[in-house]
Symmetry: C2
């Protein structure tokens, strides 16, 4: 498909660090599409080595074993572009800093490293005049870094809502469509390879929190680290929550939320009720999507595969081509190290809507007492739905509030717990994306 490249240019030397599912796919594409890539870059790309821990371990057929080396430092020293797909903090960080020190451009899919230490990496790259690209670190194949870094750079982002973890989206989707409970859905996801044997990083929201930190840093030109992200996973979500979400016109989604308020930037990850007519509510299975609200652009959404070898490799290759083009034609990726540095808010300061389910005594006057607890904290109620419960003279109340602060809602929940007529606060979920 490529037109012939009349290139006397020397090849650009590409080094891969790591050769797992994504790495071996990147190696395959670099080889199989070398003509196309050379045409788009303006010079050939030569894969000069793949650093792995154990050169003797079994590999896919697409990997040329002659390229494997255990000497990552040596490999980095002889590359123009270093692609890091090892994950984890060390030795990834040291190797990327060494690459930058040698004048190489770097491409990484390492969300944990970027969430922990992105600013140091960006500053080193800017000082050295080289590129750092990381499209694959946030939402796999979905281009979201480039739109935030470039397309929206003349606009102001107000809020980003992301479904950035495919495992939890699959689990919540199966709970909704098949009536599974959480454990059953997680087990199914494990059998299908969507969830790890130890699903903690996904179901407890750690993976989404790292991505939220990167998204917030990008969207608001502000240093946001993992410690700034309020994190709550999906382990508290019950089959009943999902049923009641549907009955009140919502889907349950694990959202990564980054928003700019008058006081600063707030970043949080938690399960949320999303209205069924919101584009995020229709994101099914293990797909990811990032919904952006900007002053001028209005609402945007980016949807696709957030994980997997081939989708992630697609994003990595796009970054490799961009970095390589810059080395051939000049130029540099937009700098990340020039920060507006807005204050990062304590999560208790952020505002949202809440939906709470209560078991209460089924008799007159109860709703008045319950409503009073909300109004005492200055929280206004949007809707109440009351259903009798078969047993024990109880009723269920489903109460949805207007915007309220976390602190205000916590005070309300405490007063509700003290009321004799309230038997149990069954569930509390935040509501996001109402328009």
């Amino acid at each position: 498909m490529a037109s012939p490249v009349s290139s006397d240019r020397p090849a650009l030397r590409v080094a891969l660090l790591g050769c797992g599912v994504v790495g071996s796919e990147v190696a395959r594409l670099l080889t199989e599409q070398s003509d196309d890539l050379a045409s788009r870059v303006g010079a050939p790309l030569e894969l000069v080595g793949i650093a792995v821990r154990n050169v003797d371990a079994p590999r896919g057929a697409a990997v040329d074993r002659g390229l494997l080396t255990a000497d990552a430092e040596g490999l980095v020293a002889r590359a123009d572009i270093v692609v890091e797909l090892m994950g984890g903090i060390e030795p990834a960080r040291s190797l990327l800093l060494a690459a930058i020190g040698h004048g190489a451009s770097v491409v990484t899919a390492n969300k944990a490293l970027l969430a922990e230490d992105g600013p140091a990496l960006y500053a080193a790259a800017d000082a050295a005049g080289v590129d750092v690209y990381y499209e694959a670190a946030v939402a796999g194949a979905i281009p979201i870094v480039r739109p935030l870094r470039e397309s929206l750079t003349g606009d102001r982002v107000r809020r980003v809502l992301g479904i950035v973890n495919g495992t939890t989206n699959y689990v919540l989707d199966r709970m909704a469509t098949e009536g599974l409970d959480l454990d059953e859905a997680v087990k199914e996801a494990q059998q299908l390879g969507y969830a790890e044997a130890d699903p903690t990083a996904d179901v407890e929201g750690f993976d989404a929190a790292a991505k939220a930190a990167i998204i917030a840093s990008l969207a608001f030109h502000t240093r946001v680290g993992l410690a700034d992200v309020h994190r709550e996973g999906i382990t508290g979500v019950t089959a009943q929550d999902v049923v009641w979400a549907a009955q009140t016109g919502h889907a349950v989604k694990l959202l990564a939320i980054a928003e700019q308020t008058a006081d600063g930037v707030a970043v949080r990850v938690h399960p949320a009720l999303v209205p069924l007519d919101h584009p995020l509510a229709g994101v099914r299975g293990s797909f990811n999507a990032v919904f952006v609200e900007a002053d001028a652009a209005g609402e945007l959404m980016f949807y696709g595969r957030g994980a997997g070898g081939a989708p992630t490799a697609s994003a990595v290759l796009g970054d490799v081509v961009s970095a390589a083009r810059h080395r051939v034609l000049g130029g540099k990726s937009p700098e990340e190290s020039r920060y507006a540095d807005l204050p990062v808010l304590d999560p208790s300061r952020s505002e949202t809507r809440f939906q709470v389910r209560l078991l209460v005594a089924d008799r007159p006057g109860v709703l008045a007492q319950v409503s009073q607890a909300f109004s005492d904290a200055g929280i206004s109620i949007e809707s109440v739905r009351q259903t009798p419960v078969a047993a024990d003279g109880l009723a269920q109340l489903v109460i949805t509030t207007h915007l309220a602060s976390e602190a205000g809602f916590a005070a309300t929940a405490a007063s509700l717990g003290d009321l004799a007529v309230v038997r149990e606060i069954t569930s509390t979920l935040r509501v996001e994306g109402a328009r």
Copy 2:
């Protein structure tokens, strides 16, 4: 919000050609966000003039009347970045070529010009070593040019399905949700300002066809002009079509389709049935969305506002910042003038699925005759749905095929018309996006 720019760099001179809804919004943002923009570019942006046909016409309050000039040629000669928002072929083309000749980078939202003469413009810009950016020309605020040009450049795009005209999407959505017929829905869209007084460009698919040509050129690195696009608007879509679409699990959408086949590239615009579980089916009201299928990335979708002053201005500003950064830091947008130049297929060669509604005599043996007409043309039927019709001893058949060529289906339709038992072929619609 911006950090201070320690810039001794001279300002970059920006010229606007055109001052309509989008132009005045771009002028406003350039002024109001000048600190942010200077910070992101690394140098101030100075709006040096706005070329208009009539400098005395009334303008919005945001436009500094001292910047208005009728001398577009003179303005272009003293700008570093020329932003063309006039529309139409001339004088837009001559002014952009003059700007490139003077060494300026250009940003345009002019889909008609790019569909007609994009390749000449890109070649001139490449020869001069300047940028051509046109994010706003395809889908308003939705970043789709950058993802296709850069993010997916290491991947292979197989097919693009786009809802790229907000007016027709609004009209079809109202027909589906409110049961309106086409004329009523168009009238409503006109009252709301979504449709022009003369809606021809939208409802006949001309606007979508220009965008389809640009998308196909980008996705497949091939010169595709407006004349290569098979075009059919929504004027033939009836309220009954929309009702039957829903009953068979589909939504009716006007799609711009660009796909790569073994023989070349096929590009077409027509109304299509989209399965309700496809992400494009959920694109409501006047929103746009572009759905991309790529070898490695899998399915991606980009969603947002495809038109309107502020959304389009957001895309234009993003392009201005990218072009300005390149002038400060070096670099250039990826070249469009390096083509793979795949053959562009005659539309009759493309393959799709069809859903046809027939009025037939309600008696035994009719389905066998009808089925024979399909099988004679080598077309395989996926499903048949038969419903009695109250009057005249007739029945309605709704037949959905597997993949068939346009030519094969035309032959079938002709044989069906010749059958005595077929009273009428009520409707024929293509089915897209089945997975």
